[in-house]
Amino acid sequence: MTQQYSCLVVEDSPMMRQLVVFALGRQKNLHVTEADDGVDGLRKLASATFDIILTDINMPIMDGLKLIQRVRTDPRHKNTPIIVITTEGGKQDRDRALKLGANAYITKPIQAPQVIQTVRELLNLEG
């Protein structure tokens, strides 16, 4: 039986969220859960375990950087791979996210092959 993986997508823009979910849909054994912002993300992280997290940086209520900080202090998710979604111009945010413990980043406008490739690499999945 194929191993199942779970993924949390934290993104305030419904459009971007749909695009990320569409991209992740290419990986058949990946179950995706969506969250509107950092707080919603933390709520979902508290009630379930995820194999990988994708998060935007600029979000209302709690941004992606704070979310990464919180995730890295949670013993259950301190080693969970995190991918940040940034703009091409958001180099500072990207660097900060990587410093805080994010594992990789993808830039907007996102391309489905790039998203799925990054997820596969971090989960050691075959293409």
Binding site: M15, L19, F22, A23, P109, Q111, A112, P113
Partner: protein
């Protein structure tokens, strides 16, 4: 053969002369000896010939085996040559089809572009709030195209424009002042998009924006989207950007009008009676 003294002594008959027999015997013996010598010589010669023949036979056998090996190798080479021909023909077919068919990465990119268009259209129509539609238009421009500055104009009269939303304009760039520009008025009057293909969109200006997209409903221009500047890293507009502009021109206009009507109606959805006339068409 020499004869010794007779033992009988008293025989009356003279001893026979056996010299003839002796000579014949000697001759026979000499001849036999010679024959034996000849035979031995012939035997040695034959033995030598047999050895030579055996050597020759072994050599021929070896040659024959080598010839077989060569024959097998030649057959193998022929098979490999045939395989090579088949492979070359296949490569040529693939090469020829590459110009006709898309490769997997190209298909993946196309699929991704379609997803962008599909999601953008979905999002534009997922709200009946004017603010919501405005935000989604901004998201499509910022997140999918990579636009830094834009102005959204609506027509209040056939050729009179009003800026209803804008983002990212530099100090001194006044959306009201740009209304009278020739290109903008042409877009309103013709309903055709005006795009500057050969300019770097990241260096765009409000008075001469890289793209002016008409917002149309049923061939009537209801507004114009002015793409003023792209983000610094985006130096060129791509095919999918133009597709997104087209989509914004059609779906954006419909979404804005629907949201406007919904607001005007006091945010009340029409009763089912309003749709009865659909059956008559």
């Amino acid at each position: 053969m020499p004869t010794g003294p007779s033992t009988r002594g008293s025989s009356d008959a003279p001893p026979p002369d056996l010299s003839k027999e002796r000579d014949e015997l000697l001759h026979s013996l000499t001849k036999g000896s010679q024959l034996t010598k000849d035979f031995l010589l012939a035997y040695d010669e034959l033995k030598s010939q047999v050895l030579e023949l055996q050597t020759e036979n072994a050599r021929l056998r070896a040659t024959l085996e080598a010839d077989d090996a060569i024959k097998r190798l030649i057959e193998k080479i022929e098979v490999l040559e045939a395989d090579k021909e088949k492979l070359l023909s296949r490569v040529n077919q693939v090469e020829a089809s590459r110009s006709t068919y898309l490769t997997v990465p190209e298909l993946e990119a196309e699929l991704s572009n379609f997803a962008n268009l599909h999601v953008a259209a979905n999002c534009l129509h997922s709200t009946l709030s004017l603010r919501g539609v405005g935000r989604r238009i901004r998201e499509v421009l910022e997140q999918l195209v990579g636009v830094e500055a834009y102005v959204l104009y609506l027509c209040t009269e056939p050729t009179h424009l009003v800026p209803i939303a804008y983002e990212g304009l530099a100090a001194g760039e006044d959306p009201e002042r740009a209304i009278g520009t020739k290109r903008l008025l042409e877009v309103v009057s013709t309903g055709a998009a005006s795009i500057l293909d050969d300019v770097d969109p990241s260096q765009g200006r409000l008075d001469d924006p890289p793209a002016l997209i008409p917002l149309s409903i049923d061939d009537t221009v209801v507004g114009v989207l002015a793409v003023v500047r792209s983000l610094a890293h985006k130096r060129q507009l791509t095919t999918v950007d133009f597709e997104l502009f087209k989509l914004l021109g059609l779906h954006g206009a419909a979404a804005l009008m629907a949201a406007g009507l919904y607001t005007v109606s006091g945010r009340s959805l029409p009763h089912a009676d309003a749709f009865r006339s659909l059956q008559q068409h």
